[in-house]
């Protein structure tokens, strides 16, 4: 059966009718057309589908859409403001932290979740925060450096 819910995605409210067994990931991609959030395993093991729910990083494949009713959801599409990239996006580009790019939307959201909670993490804390986001290309080196750059205030004083 379908449930009428309201998802507040990147600040915009969306009223959608969703199946009870459909995940937030599926609804974001298939009903709202927000395909920046990726499907990697649908088991909470790879982190490619990471979004922020009320500011906390979650695997959107493990959240039922009905559970997200009324909650604030942030996806990669909401990071940049018009042409103005988010500091994390700038840092990822500047550090050459992106290769195939498939893990990057989830990686960015985990990083944003971390910096909101802990604006000045150590390298170990950064690695811990993204340890649920698998990347097979980069070896994580540049990704960690990019997040540390933002945390150190290199971009807009570290505001995120």
């Amino acid at each position: 059966m379908l449930h009428e819910i309201t998802l507040i995605v990147n600040g915009e409210p969306y009223n959608v009718a969703v199946r009870s067994d459909h995940t937030l990931l599926k609804v974001l991609r298939e009903q709202l057309g927000l395909v920046g959030t990726k499907i990697g395993c649908e088991n909470g093991e790879c982190g490619a589908c990471t979004v922020l729910m009320d500011g906390k990083a979650v695997n959107s494949c493990l959240v039922l859409a009905v559970e997200a009713d009324g909650h604030q959801i942030e996806t990669v599409e909401g990071l940049s403001k018009g042409e103005q990239l988010h500091p994390l996006q700038k840092a990822f580009i500047d550090r050459n932290a992106i290769q195939c790019g498939f893990c990057i939307p989830g990686m960015l959201m985990s990083a944003k979740g971390l910096l909101q909670e802990n604006p000045h993490p150590t390298e170990d804390e950064v690695r811990e925060a993204i340890s649920g986001n698998l990347c097979r290309c980069t070896g994580y080196v540049r990704i960690v450096e990019a997040i540390m750059d933002v945390a150190s205030g290199k971009y807009d004083g570290g505001k995120s």
Binding site: K38, N96, C100, G101, C103, N133, C137, G139, Y140
Partner: protein, 785 residues
């Protein structure tokens, strides 16, 4: 988009670390992958029915219950796709017809209006099997009494340089004979023998294999696929379906990680057959992560035997090797990996007497196929450990032993080919300096032991002799340049490097170049053999450079006529044509499309400027089937060295990497920072691969078929300190001297680690994976119950 007018411009970009051309799209979530394409409400979903047995005859398939399930549109089986296909050896069917050969092999495909219905109906397809004895280990498969996996091997079509042995499980036997090792063993001061093994491992791209196919009523087929090989896929589909190439269109957007796993064919043909059954409707399959593990190609397993000897001064004298590769159920691609392992069987060493036998064996496991390194990580695993032991035996420093014996510019290598334009000694020097090779360093705690290890490598692009590349370049009114290529951006940065080369060759800024290749579309893109073998920088780069030089010349000719000057006196600098003679200047804007007027507008010169380039190596020769000897086995080799500094916890067997240093001779780094990102990512991939391995039960069922049970390195596991270095010995036929480096960066990481472990705890690990348990038990054999 980039603002051409205001953005800071990069002129003469070759050799500069410009920003990746795809970074903005990928950082904003705008980059499109197959799963992101929208097909509307007419889209159907497919689900494959897979074999539960490793080896069995199919006695009966009953699809009636599945077909009757509400929402099901079609069920397809082997009857719908009976012709075999293969790149090198046509041993494979799209859906099994009479026999299954691994757990996970597609037997039928269900098409339905939703994923859920397709999945439910797939369970309703009834298949009756008659189980046959199975074999999983390559060395067991080599034995004369092993169950025969392909009884019809003798009837399969095969390319002339692959040698299957009908009546056995051997799908390829490559022989290398140089000198006679048996005559020189007695002269050796030290001989080391050993058997080394590697399990099958998975590429684990974060993007699962995804494909959408539509078969139109007029028999035109469109396939949207996550693909490293859109052109090769089109070719294989046409073979298997007996349809004209012009009827098939493969569209391949960005690939979310390939590593070889998206080369050739995996699920794509299955989806096309599903689509044929529901003409006009697109059908989509996205593998679950479990299907990624059980149903896609893997790196082959290897059982390798080595006997290598040297004299008292450390000069290598003789080598005998036998490589038994576990090729899995179908070896249409794997045979060429085994051939590559055969003609490169000595590794990067100059050895006067060599006897090498490289076998590809059918096994009842997942299909062995291309993976980053293509046979080289497998053979270097044992080889590099034996070299360490030889050095130890004669009391020579292990780095010095490698300097003394490694291949050098001008050497005649094992196949009789002369190797040129490499400097492996410099790579060894760089990595030994980076980890302070000569300095004995203390462990961080009393329960830890510290060790350093080194390993070197070589790898040639392993391809048919004549794989081609082509490129088209076309100007826009504002003098931006569209570069059309058919190679794929799989993360390695090829679009960026192609843009740099095009800009440099024409004489325009990097920022003016647009790569028109996402998606690669076989209907519009110029031909590219495959995005494999670390060949694009070199091969596609040559094609792009040629096309760019063609437009440059066309522009110079037009402007020379306009100015009534000699084109030889003109140049294009920073997007402006300049005359060194008259010092006149002509911007490229507008004239590259509209041309230039004659004096007093009495007619015009030029027109839209378009250029083409194509490149194919023409000099690779065949090799003697009995000796592996020939004038030129391969196009070239890339070489490199890695050194590892690590600690082993003697109480747990766990390894802690302190540093990995890598240096590769790339000929010319078109974009040095992108080379560094390959070096870093490759070192971590190599590190991770040392802990990976497929684990089967006795019935051939994969036990670690999820990311929980099959671990790849996370940010917490990965080595933190990776020191990269680049050596540049220009290649004679590379663009600006460049050759590839994408695969090489992980080839010797595992043996470098094993050598460091041996240095730390004086124990040799012969079989991957390097589990903590295995290392602990090697240190404490008394605890092995």
């Amino acid at each position: 988009m980039q603002d051409v007018a205001t953005k800071e411009l990069t002129n003469e970009p070759v050799g500069k670390s410009v920003t990746r051309i795809d970074a903005f799209e990928k950082a904003t979530g705008a980059a499109v992958y197959v799963d992101d394409l929208q097909f509307g409400p007419g889209l159907y979903y497919g689900k494959m029915v897979r074999s539960p047995y490793p080896h069995a005859l199919i006695k009966r398939i009953d699809t009636s219950k599945a077909l009757a399930y509400p929402g099901v549109k079609a069920v397809v089986t082997g009857k719908d796709s009976p012709l075999p296909f293969g790149l090198y050896l046509k041993d494979r069917k799209i859906y099994a017809t009479d026999r299954v050969r691994f757990v996970g092999e597609p037997v039928a495909g269900v098409v339905a209006i939703s994923e859920e219905i397709a999945e439910k109906a797939a369970e309703l397809v009834e298949v009756e099997y008659e189980e046959l004895p199975a074999v999983f280990d390559p060395y067991e498969s080599f034995q004369p009494n092993a169950p025969l996996i392909h009884p019809d091997l003798g009837s399969y079509e095969v390319v002339p340089f692959i040698f299957p042995e009908p009546g056995t499980n051997i799908s390829e036997h490559f022989k290398l004979r140089k000198g006679n090792p048996d005559e020189v063993w007695s002269q050796c001061a030290a001989i080391v023998e050993g058997t080394y093994k590697l399990p099958q491992i998975q590429h684990v791209p974060i993007e699962p294999h995804t494909a959408v196919a539509r078969w139109d009523p007029d028999d035109k087929i469109t396939l949207w696929a996550a693909s490293q090989s859109p052109f090769a896929q089109r070719d294989l589909l046409c073979q298997s379906l007996n349809i004209p190439h012009g009827n098939v269109r493969v569209i391949a957007p960005y690939v979310g990680g390939g590593f070889g796993g998206k080369a050739g064919i995996s699920i794509e043909a299955n989806v096309v057959i599903m689509a044929k059954a529901v003409k006009g409707h697109p059908v989509k399959v996205r593998n679950t992560r479990e299907e990624e593990f059980i149903g896609t190609n893997v790196r082959q397993s290897l059982h390798a035997y080595y006997k290598i000897g040297c004299d008292k001064d450390g000069n290598l004298l003789a080598m005998e090797v036998q490589y038994y590769f576990g090729g899995g159920a179908y070896n249409d691609y794997g045979v060429n990996i085994v051939r590559a392992a055969g003609y490169s069987c000595t590794g990067p060493y100059d050895v006067p007497h060599v006897k090498g036998d490289s076998y590809c064996l059918y096994t009842n496991t997942q299909i062995g196929s291309a993976m980053r390194g293509f046979g080289m990580p497998e053979i270097h695993w044992g080889l590099e450990q034996i070299m360490d032991q030889l050095a130890e035996k004669i009391g020579m420093d292990k780095a010095e032993f490698r300097r003394r014996n490694c291949v050098q510019h001008g050497d005649v290598i094992l196949t009789g080919m002369t190797i040129n334009n490499i400097d492996l000694v410099k790579c060894i020097d760089k990595v030994t300096q980076a980890i302070q090779w000569d300095k004995k360093e203390l462990p961080s705690a009393p329960n830890k032991k510290r060790g350093k290890g080194i390993a070197i490598m070589w790898k040639a692009p392993a391809m048919p002799p004549n794989p081609g590349s082509s490129a088209i370049v076309r100007f826009n009114e504002d003098a931006t340049l569209n570069v059309f290529v058919g190679g794929q951006e799989i993360g390695q940065g090829t679009f960026t490097v192609m843009a740099q080369m095009a800009a440099e060759a024409v004489g325009i800024p990097y920022e003016w170049v647009r790569i028109t290749a996402s998606p690669v579309d076989t209907k519009y893109s110029p031909y590219e053999w495959q995005t494999v073998a670390s060949r694009l920088t070199w091969s596609m780069g040559n094609a792009v450079k040629m096309a760019a030089l063609e437009v440059r010349q066309k522009i110079l000719d037009v402007v020379a006529k306009y100015w009534n000057e000699d084109p030889k006196d003109l140049d294009i600098k920073n997007g402006v044509v300049v005359s060194y003679k008259s010092e006149r200047e002509q911007p490229l804007q507008k004239m590259v499309v509209y041309g230039l007027p004659n004096e007093n507008y009495e007619g015009w010169q030029g027109g839209p400027i378009v250029g083409t380039g194509s490149f194919m190596p023409t000099y690779v020769t065949g090799l003697d089937p009995e000796t592996g000897q020939g004038a030129r086995a391969v196009v070239h080799y890339t070489v490199g060295a890695q050194a590892v500094d690590l600690e082993v916890d003697t109480e747990t067997g766990q390894i802690d990497i302190i540093k990995i240093a890598s240096a590769y001779d790339v000929g010319k780094a078109i974009n040095p920072d992108l080379v560094m990102t390959q070096i870093e990512g490759g070192a971590v991939h190599g590190f991770s691969s040392a802990f990976e391995g497929y684990i089967f039960d006795e019935k051939g069922r994969l036990l670690n078929n999820s990311l929980i049970d099959y671990k790849i390195a996370t940010a917490l596991d990965a080595p933190k300190k990776i020191i990269g270095d680049i050596v540049e010995t220009p290649l004679d036929d590379g663009p600006w001297g460049a050759r590839g480096v994408g695969e090489h960066v992980m080839v010797q990481t595992a043996p470098a680690m094993a050598n460091a472990i041996a240095d730390a705890i004086k124990v040799r690990i012969h079989a991957l994976p390097l589990s903590a348990e295995k290392i602990y038990l090697a240190m404490h054999p008394e605890d092995a119950a």
